[in-house]
């Protein structure tokens, strides 16, 4: 198994967020955020950028960024 490079050993931090930007897209109540998104697609728009996403036969959404919630 690979080992992490620990050269110049730094003190271990309590927490380091690896995808904090996710939490900057939508703030507040996640259920309300989903309601907003549902309202956005109610007019016939697509909830998913299917054609920009790399999956087939059932988009799994992580490449198209449909669901950004907090």
């Amino acid at each position: 198994m690979k080992k992490q490079k620990m050269g110049g050993r730094e003190p271990v931090q309590e927490i380091v967020s690896l995808n904090d930007e996710l939490f900057s897209f939508v703030t507040g109540d996640p259920l309300a955020a989903l309601d907003e998104r549902l309202a956005m697609v109610a007019g016939g728009g697509s909830a998913c950028e299917t054609f920009t996403c790399a999956s087939f036969g059932g988009c799994t959404s992580f490449t198209c960024g449909t669901f950004k919630i907090n």
Partner: protein, 500 residues
Amino acid sequence: MLRTSSYTIYVDLPGNDEEMLLVHTYTGAFDRVSRRVATWVRSLEAGRPPKPLYGEWTPEPPSAAGEAVPPSEATIEILHRRGYLTPMSREEEEAFFTQYVEKLHTLYLRRWPTYLFMPTYDCNLRCGYCFQDHMRTDGRFAHLLRRMTPEMADRLFAAMPKIEALHGIPADAEPQVEIGFFGGEPLLAANRPLVEHVIRRGVERGKARFWAISNGTELDAYEDLLSPDLLGSVQITLDGPPDEHDKRRVYAGGQGSWERIARNLRMALDRGIVVAVRTNVDRTNLHGLAALAEEIAAQGWDRYPNFASQVAPIRASNDKTDAKSIFNTWELDRQLTAMRESHPAVAVLGRQDDGLRNQARRIFSRRGLPSFKPSFCSAHTGMYIFDPFGDIYACWEKTGDEKVRVGRVDESSEVHFNFDLRALWQGRTVASNPVCLKCRYNLFCGGGCAVLAADRSGGDFYRNYCDGFAHRFRASVAEAYLDHVEGQAFADKPDAFCDL
């Protein structure tokens, strides 16, 4: 008073005894924390996670030794904000999660449907493990071996807006057509007029994308249709190097199929379409994977950016397949990972969990977001499979038996749904399944395959099918993180056609 969310995942980092990763299922947070913080978070769990009544359950990694010491107030605030700590009781959080999943699932249901056309149930190969083997070998199913007519295809196209209306899509919305071909063998040369007709009709409808799951033996009959704008992606199966493949992927007369497939595969790559090679593996052909990898390199296929590979476990879905010979997904992943150590060329073969690893790499490199799968696959959202008789099915594993069809299209293109069955498929989410509701991995897993869950549980559709997912998720995220930290190259490859 805060407690630890029931949907907190702890990921060990091999070679690092001071830190680990925390992942939160429904907020999608990924964080690196000190072991001390992780131990404290775990100390606030409200009892042990409940064991399921059935299925596999993977234990969490052990807690660090020693007393649980609270971190700083600032860290506690971050842990709260990112979902690991919650003021909700377990029951309140499950109720919240249920609402969350229902809304998320509704979003999925409002997407444009995906249509699969089955030009025929017939196939020119007789592979021993095929789940449709009985259709070609048992005379009682001979009536199925008809070809779809262009008139039937027209009838199905006329029915599409009625299906789309059920997903809340207005009649005047610009169509986004996604059409797959499946069989039997959909791309038999004899099916060409029908397939061409479907593609033409799809293009006439609007923005369209086409793909096929094919054995590749007669792909040369479709050469001019293979283009990123037309038939843009094909999955082709190779079950080992030529000798091994020719024992398993055989014609009715017993002849092997490697040579024709290899020729067609090269042609498809040259045409610029995505070619995803699938290799179905059990304990009897595992030994051939290194030779297959060398053959792929020798052919130069892996140098095409539009080439992808995935190794998948064979399922015991007919009585010719020995249940003792099969792997589950986690076992096969471990076998392949070990093989990569001794045969580096095997790295060209994609592991089934590479999608999970790629998802994590995208997150760590800030190029993507978590997937959030409220259900396992599009059989539970908007996939409609049309067979040659105008019958509609939700899942390709369950086609050919009109007792399980979810609907049919009549001569006037009217759609007659069995709404109870349709609701059964489209209602299966990680919240409607009582075991998955309590699982901390649920929105990454989606609950597992419904067909396999029902087979294992004696027919209950709303059961979990774990397939080693907890192990697989933690190992994939840890590997992706270590690769990210080490700056290992990362290239997005096309995802698999099916997670099975």
